[in-house]
């Protein structure tokens, strides 16, 4: 029994984390449309709580929150451009310029995604910090 318990993966493998990332991305994307900008933080927090509680390795949760936030905010950024032909690149450039940053589209996109990623990583950190470590193998 003890051997079996030791050999069972505690947090699932890469596919499990991918599923978590995509589900999180969907939630983040949908709530962004409601103006719930703080959801990346909550998503990171949730991942942190789950990952620590399940004793998962750090190499999975971090890429997972990166994927969920980059997709979760990245898709809504470009969705109007893809569907309605709105000028996403030009808007990104304008946002960067108005923010006093170098007036390039990539700057606007990076700053926006940085806001999401920062939230998610800090949420992940908090989730892990608040959760007791699962019994070591």
């Amino acid at each position: 029994m003890a051997d079996l318990r030791l050999n069972r993966p505690r947090t699932g493998g890469g596919w499990w984390w991918l599923a978590v990332a995509l589900a999180g991305a969907l939630v983040i994307a949908l709530t962004a449309e409601l103006g719930w900008w703080f959801v990346p933080f909550l998503a990171g927090l949730a991942v942190g709580l789950v990952a620590r509680g399940r004793g998962g390795r750090r190499r999975h949760p971090v890429p997972a929150v990166l994927v969920m936030t980059l997709v979760g905010w990245g898709v809504p950024l470009y969705w109007p451009a893809l569907v309605q032909g709105q000028p996403a690149g030009a808007t990104a450039r304008v946002i960067a310029a108005l923010a006093g940053l170098p007036p390039y589209a990539v700057t606007g996109v990076l700053v926006t995604l940085l806001v999401a990623v920062l939230q998610a990583l800090v949420g992940l950190w908090l989730g892990r910090a608040l959760t007791p470590r699962a019994p070591s193998r």
């Binding site: 962004a32 709105q86 304008v94 006093g100």
Partner: protein, 891 residues
Amino acid sequence: MRNVRGRRGLRRAVNAGFALIVSGLLLYVLAAGYGTIPPLGAALDPGRGAWTSAAGGQTASAQTLSLTGLQHPVAVSFSAQGVPSIQAATDHDAYLALGYLQARYRLAEMDSERRLGEGRLAQLAGPSQLSSDEFELRLGLLRTAQREWAATPRSSAAGQALLSFSQGVNDDIAQVRASGHWPAEFSLARVYPSTWTPVDSLVIQGVLTEELDFTTTPLDYALLEKSLGAQRTMAWFPVQPPNRQSPFNPGPYRHPGLTPVAADLASSVAPVGTDAAATASPAPSDPFRSSQPISTATGTAAGDLLAQVGRLPAGVVHTEPDSNAWAANGPLVDGHGAMLAGDPHLPQTLPSIWYQAALSAPGLQVSGVTVPGVPGVLIGHNQHIGWSLTDTQNQATLFYAEQTSKSHPDQYYWRGAWRPMTDVHYTIPVRGAATRQLTVHITVHGPIMTQAGQTMAVDWMGNVPSPDLAALIGINRAANFTQFKTALAGWYAPVQNFVYADDQGHIGEISAGYYPQVSHGDPWLPLTGTGADDIDGVIPYAAEPQIYDPPGHVIATANQRPVDPSYPYYIGTSENFFDNSFRANQIYAVLRGRSGLNPAAFQALQGNVTDNLAQAFVPRLVTALRQSEAQSGGLSSDQQQALNLLANWDDSMTTGSAAASVWWTFWGDYISAAFSPWWTSAHVPVSKDSAGLALSSWPTSLTEDLAAWTAGGGPSGTLSPFALPSGRTRTAAQVMRQAFTTAVAHLASKLGGSPSAWTWGRLHTREFPSLTGATGLGYGPRASSGDAWTVDAAEGGLNSDTGPSWRMVVDFSAGASARGATGGGAGPALAEGVYPGGQSENPTSPWYDDLIGYWWDDRLLPMPAAGSAAGSVRWTLRPPGSSAAMAVGRG
């Protein structure tokens, strides 16, 4: 073991604590912002933040919109460049639709302008704009607008237009609030526009008045007198300019006395210091009388006030004399009739100060440019008349040194008694800092602008409630010069040269507005506030500069002094702040005696880059340099080549001209060579107002002095600029040689290579900056022709940001019909115009800067005729209930 677990537990607790603190801080900053950093979480949210402004980057398409307040459906059609033609069944609907469209395409600009005038910039931009807010609240644009609205009958045409227009703006704000698709400026700052009111429109009218009419030149005169002395100051900055000028109204003149100005109109509040409140008292010793030298206290006050002005956003106070408008008729015009051209020179920004539109309603058929935030067409045409404006630039700002005493706190001495000041209190919200309280003290002269050294009040005609909108509506509807003139009788500020042409072949001009007159004291200096130097009245309307169907068949205004020295009223000095007439001289030189003028000729003249001063001066310079070389030799190879360039130059400031660079650099060095020894010797306090006192700013008077005195004449002895403080004398030729040597050295150092490669385009550019101040959202810098004195003016330095902000040609001539031109409806046979920018303020919109190419190439576009479709994109605006509202993106 227990210690190890304890240490791990402590580490976990510390880690959790840090994580909590960092999470809290991050979320707080993202939610609430920090200092001037906006709440970036919501601002950058992809679904609701600034990204939603992308919707405005799409091309406009057919829409039906429901607008609250409409009485009947309104048809709007757009030209390919986004210029709307509004067809409404009532004036109310026309102005409502205009308000809606302006807000739809310029809401951020409109909100920014009203914030400027109402002292609310710091709420948006933080402490950096607090000084501007305090200045504007002291000056009183908001108080004046409130008084104007209070004095506007709600049932009057102006009252109705303001209410309808405000409704249209608020319809747009409501739509945007519902959709969440704010312009990025709002989404990023998370500060949103409040409900639009008629007072907001009147504040924007006040901002424009300030930009055109408020001057600080008396403060500069005070500092000049204090450093250079009164005699030298008035010799070098005289009331009447010494150079050749082209007044469009050469007289004869009449002096029918003065029109009294109601007591409460001379200040920015209701009458203060009433007799009931006054305390009779013997006159205190008056430390300031205009017959006495400028005191140190006055100099300190002037310096403080100039520093306040220096901290205002660029362009708020007018420093450049500019704008052209001319009209011709009769035998000069192809097929006779009348033609009009106008190009007001203002800061060239993206978005532009203008929003172009055509309005049609019963009795209202007008097309032209509007000011975002203000109903009515400011420059344009209707079926019968066309008009354009230039700034008259008379002195409309008087400064008063108020007599105060510690034994009479909060009082000032005026007309034999101590009077209480009126206090007005303001609360200024400041982003990222504590709210600021401001108390403005007001005397009978106007608001106290500084108490540094000397208590100084300003009596500015822009603070006189001026029913400009009523006048504008009258102009929009006028069918002849009589109606045009009648409408302008109610225009007080800013004083403008209204140039006119009509379909009956008449042309005219009226420089309408208030010209304050004092019977005692020198108005170009700060005046005493004791009452002796108060304004006695203004020039009667009938005696203001004006002209109708002149015998020469041409009228040209280019901000030159409109009248000659025999005009019997004071209108300002050479430095305060008329143009030096070089542009007017050039326009008259091109138009006088011509025949067969057509729109193409007018258009070509708008793009004329001949430097009129160079035309008159360069031959003299070349002669002086050749004589100098013959006498003393010593021209270097570069100097010889530069001299040859000048000798063979056609005086055109084209980008490819190397002679243009030599000329322009020479003139700056000539001013410096002539006057800098005196500036240094007298310690002229240039740092207090570099825009007005520095020789590098090329004061208008000094250029006029050198233009005239180089040819001979001018003050002699130690008052001659060619003398030196040491007593040594120089000739004009010697100073020219010195300046030429310096100029060639400057150019060689800056541009290198051979003088033939020193082309003007390498030295001179134009730039249209973004109104937001954001780099990357403007246009340029781009190599450009023209200079500050060419008809196609480029002002603001070697990287010019001021110039023709709108070019228009209106042709009422019979020849137009013969040429097959058609305006597409009732009105002039041909009306064209363009401004450097675009109809939308959204940088992602195709209508953001699409007009610049036309402007740059001196091409004009047909102005939509009122009452006819401007293009194929059509909107229908309906009253609520008659059609469903549609979710719309912003252009």
